[in-house]
Symmetry: D2
């Protein structure tokens, strides 16, 4: 017997609230930079998605909680685009408590609709889409909160999961993959985003992937070797970005009298050299790769390798939100085993975010009015983002295991640092 959709819905919605438990109202209100959103906005927006794309069509009569919320929590700005409104952080009203009421109200109405019409296929599809949408915002909330808390000289802690004593990871080995004519893209009949389709053929040269992620220790070596002063290993645009933003280390690293520290969701901690480096930009990942005589993988290389392995890693389910060392657990490179593929850090690829061959955003159909709703709801994600962004693969320590799949395509601009992004190296076979 399958779990009723409403039960699954509630469980995801509840997790969102559990994630904000450690926060005070003020933490939920502020936007710390243009690319982030306040937690309160995430909360309202995830509810807005259900109100806009489900309730507006399945609730009879449709009774919005507050007319203004349809606009304030929309991801569309006035000109109909989906980029974030830099003013989101200026709305101290509605209060967090009213925003929570909004969530409760939407939940009650969703429960009624879902119980009444669960067999409606489009309704199910939209509800499931909204649930995945909410889970994505759960991760974004954590990344945004981390950035916000890092601003205060008080070094506040989101939760106080102590960093575990990490074992030294094994030496990096190169796992070989034959390539040839392979297939990538989503295969299955569970949920996936439209950008993962269609599954299609790609021809790959033989290649190698590193058996584990780059560690803080290795990244520190890059820094000590003058990596941030060596234009030869940087993309021109990366060099400019790095100089203009005065970067000389990963986003949350700080030098103190006691040596390097890292700001984490558990506050400022001594830098654990055994853990994977995270919060690096595409530029930094690429520069590290050149310096190391390697490169970033393409997303096809990554997916081809990853789809041959089990999903295991360090997921948000442990409430830890920090990657774990690959220590001890590294699969043998001889067998092509790759550690830390999932659940530690999103892994930058060298692939720009573009449509798969044959990709066609679902065309709305005049005879099916709800197909327009679906089109708009899906479009909230992927449509129109396909320029000047780079694909990350895997999945970070800030997402639950159930969100993981080999075909998932995350994407961010090349200067993005505040996501849980790390580095796995690749190289051509001939370089071995």
């Amino acid at each position: 017997m399958t779990t009723p959709l409403y039960v699954k819905y509630s469980s995801i919605r509840d997790r969102t609230l559990s994630l904000i438990e450690p926060l005070i109202d003020e933490d939920c209100c502020v936007q710390s930079m243009p690319g982030t959103s306040p937690v309160k906005w995430h909360l309202g927006h995830a509810s807005w998605f259900f109100e806009k794309f489900v309730l507006q069509h399945y609730e009879k009569p449709f009774t919005p909680f507050h007319p203004a919320f349809l606009m304030m929590f929309s991801s569309y700005n006035k000109s109909g685009q989906t980029h974030p409104d830099p003013k989101r952080g200026l709305f101290t009203r509605p209060s967090l408590s009213l925003t929570r009421e909004y969530r409760n109200n939407v939940n009650e109405r969703m429960e009624q609709v879902l119980k009444r019409s669960e067999e409606d296929e489009m309704l199910r599809m939209l509800a499931v889409l909204g649930m995945h949408h909410e889970q994505q915002h759960q991760e974004l909330m954590l990344a945004d909160v981390k950035h916000l808390l890092s601003q205060s000289p008080l070094n506040p802690s989101y939760n106080s999961q102590p960093l575990l004593d990490s074992p030294v990871p094994p030496p990096l080995e190169w796992c070989r993959f034959d390539g040839g004519l392979v297939e990538i893209g989503y295969k299955g009949d569970e949920f996936s985003y439209d950008n993962e389709s269609p599954r299609h053929k790609q021809y790959l040269q033989p290649y190698q992937l590193a058996s584990r992620l780059v560690t803080n220790r290795e990244y520190l070596e890059f820094m000590k070797a003058g990596g941030y002063d060596n234009p030869g290993v940087w993309l021109s645009e990366g060099w400019d970005w790095m100089k203009a933003n005065r970067r000389s280390h990963p986003l949350y690293w700080r030098e103190s009298d006691q040596g390097w520290e890292e700001f984490t969701l558990s506050g400022a901690m001594p830098l654990d050299l055994n853990l994977p480096v995270i919060h690096v930009s595409f530029y930094e990942a690429d520069a590290f790769g050149r310096w190391a005589g390697a490169r970033l993988p393409t997303e096809a290389e990554w997916e081809n390798a990853a789809s041959q392995q089990e999903i295991e890693g360090c997921f948000a389910d442990n409430n830890r939100f920090h990657p774990s060392s690959a220590g001890g657990s590294t699969p043998s490179a001889n067998t092509g085993g790759l550690a830390q593929l999932y659940g530690d850090a999103w892994e930058w690829t060298q692939s720009s975010y573009s449509p798969y061959p044959g990709y066609n955003p679902a065309k709305p159909n005049e005879n099916e009015p709800m197909s327009f709703v679906w089109d708009e709801a899906v479009g909230e994600y992927n449509s129109r983002s396909m320029v000047n962004q780079y694909v990350l693969r895997g999945g970070s320590c800030a997402i639950p295991k159930e969100r993981i799949r080999a075909s998932f395509r995350n994407f961010f601009p090349a200067d993005t640092c505040w996501q849980f992004s790390g580095i796995r190296l690749a190289r051509d076979l001939r370089d071995s």
Copy 2:
């Protein structure tokens, strides 16, 4: 028998807290633009002033509430300058509640110190300075909160003092002043800021001042006559500012289906045409003046006229925070009587903010260590601001009557709109 200093201190400190009663924690945390500060910062900063300049020197042993607060709530940034830190609004921690604890703690310690050493002259001077400092921040808090609340599409209301039905003000008349060799600057033995001294002679041509402030009705006429499209009446820099910021009306005016509205601390209200126009920049005030065939007064003209009158007006004591119409109460222009001199709006003058002749910031004296403290405490205000700012005189509806005096010099950059600033016209005698 005079009131003990601590009683006065407590009353001012209490008023600050009463001013934030209508606000939720989130309102107190956010900074809505670089020039403003979050309410929480104002609260902490006003306490910091006492901790830094009084307790640090008179409390034995000095026990700071939290070492980091001495930095976070300082008006000095890292490079020792006093301009606001644009990151103030990113500090969600300390929480508002901890910041209130900080206030209580400072109050208890101040009570002990004041009770013990009230006769110490320098202690009294510093404490009184801090009290005036706190009162200035009370007004700033109101202006900053108004700007913040105006950002929300929900049109939140700070308090709900209804706008009264305002009588039509009498026609504007011109009050004549002879000028000649006059004296301006603070005269008396109560508290005043160092920028009001020394009292000194100035020679004035005969001049005229408008009997009341410019009304919303008159400003609307300027707009309807194409004021914002007529480069001939604008300062070049003002025109550029206006075009670059797409201004076409005072800051909080909004056009709706029902006509002009104005966002107030009581939310959005129909524009009351009888009230003085407020929230105009120096550029707008100057342009209105040229359009009207007049000009802004100099600060000497203003003070010379004002010092001949009683102090009366519409003060914050009424908890209304909106100017009142001059209706009915206008003194006869024949007697030189000027309505709305105080307590309605700060009045832009054409005078740039510069030192009075003979002004000399108190020179610290090696033999009096506390003179350095005084110097630094006073410097918090005026020193180093004397460029590219313009003087406003009078006092707005957002300050208590007791803060009013004819010699008080307020000052802001020419593009400032979010202060309670209005317009009184002047002209040369020959123009009559």
Copy 3:
């Protein structure tokens, strides 16, 4: 008997000078926007390339024309990066005439070196590289001069090649390509850039390409249909770019009382509706494609189709610098023939500029000192540009036919308009 290298060298160098004949000294000095360079800089830089990479190593003793020129005309800025120096346009000295002397001097020295050591393979390679480099700058010079002259209200004309009366082009047809496992990349033993290698396999879905470029007439229809007001057809980033830059038509279009005009190298001309649209950004090309129910081709699709055709088109050899209409000459679509593949406009592809699989910038070899020189000379082009740029294929009316080959990869950021860039549509087979 082959032509001696010096003869070829001279011919290319002479063409550069013939291109500036219509210009006055002032035209050659000014930089009209950060992305462009003054003609004088192009002239000096092309000579610098030979002095730096050839003469410095083959002239004995090396006698630089002017020590400062090695820095001023370098494409490397102080930090060793290759992005243009926005101050290039501020150097009125050296004068154009001294810069021409510099060219003559370099030519004389090159002649000696080439005549003496023509059999040296590395010398030949470096000289040939410099000659291709110079040809690329010839096109850049024309694009930069066009942008510069377009700034003057006098509508100056670079040369006065009248626009010919263009025949109406035939209807756009779709040419079908089977795809499958194909090979792209340079194949041959003439000169090519390292980014065209290695030749490698790609798997392509069946696809269709438009038989000709999009015309001004078709683009005008897009505009009239509200294309610039319809966020649904724009990439989010493209919409923002377009609104921020207030674009509502291609770069050099202007609306006049007589209808649309286009600024050309022959001055302002009535818009010829039969010609291909040029000077559109990637964003505009992509938006037009969505609006038209199509998409941009990938570079592999383009190259696979183009490599099956002869090279013919409207080249700079005619001194016209404006694309020609496909009128009449369109190959039959049945045979897969594609008109205007070369010599009219660079064609935006949807492919971001990234390394080919197996691409490895020539690794310098300790045992071959000159391999480091080669590495640096080649690096002048491609290394470190591979992020946030998009590939254009084909070749414009501003380059000579001899520079054309199917594997050539041009690349520019998505907001680039001042290059001679146009649109060829593609679509999946199933969309037919």
Copy 4:
């Protein structure tokens, strides 16, 4: 017998051309920063003034040289404001040679008009205004050319007037002035600008002025004493400007292996410690003053002192364009003599640029059509600039002696460095 106006006109116009003799066409075309204008624009603009305000009204029939020039060389931009168009430097056409033809053409037409109607008072006034206007642009041209040439690494020299060996100036002495009720403003019946009127009374406290300008040696002491690292001596806004622009010395100073150099119109020269410091901003002048325990004078203090002295100094007539040392020639301070009042450097005052009491821009008169022309011609200067600018007095080494008068008010924004601006200190009497 007085010199005919046309003779005077020709002599001033000729001097402009003689000033550009050392320049090549390219030098005359480029705009090196937004606040400057290309020499070619200055040339065209000075002619435009005569064509627009004289010929358009006195030439029958009016035959403009080129219709577009009336717009391109206007100081009014499209919105009718007078701030400079940052695109001026992009107009390579009209060429310099056509612009010179324009000058010749205007001169011929002016000669006819002036000879025919010299007795027309308004014509004379307008022509004289245009001649003063041209002289002001002569100085601006020199300042702008200096800034432009300073950009080239070749250190080009405008002319090669060697710096003379400067004698050590005498120690700075303080000259005492009684103040009291004084008069300032233009008195006389020669030409003056409207901002110098009306002559009016001001009351001054007793004050002291330094007997000479601050020298490079003294300014270097300020730098060595950490002046640029000491926030206590800077205006807040000045500190921000200085840090944001990374200033640590006057504009044209450069540190070399041989010590400090200064870029001059004769190229880079060793810094002459005996000469007055020039090219400092208001912020730097003010900071130096605080550091030295003094202040800048007010413009009334300056004019009151200066009007008691003869006009002598180091003027442009010597073709040297660099101030001279006060060495030897300092008048005795006992007699109140002030060296270097004129002809060395413009002297920053602490006075913001504002209208004199009773100032009234000439009101055009309906019955005198030409009064509107006068109004517009005069307005080219002063109207609408009276905010956020500071007055400089005296006159620099870049202007001819005949332009000097004690009442002349120059004015620039506080961050201006590229004018020939220096520092004379003042202090209150009690500080002596």
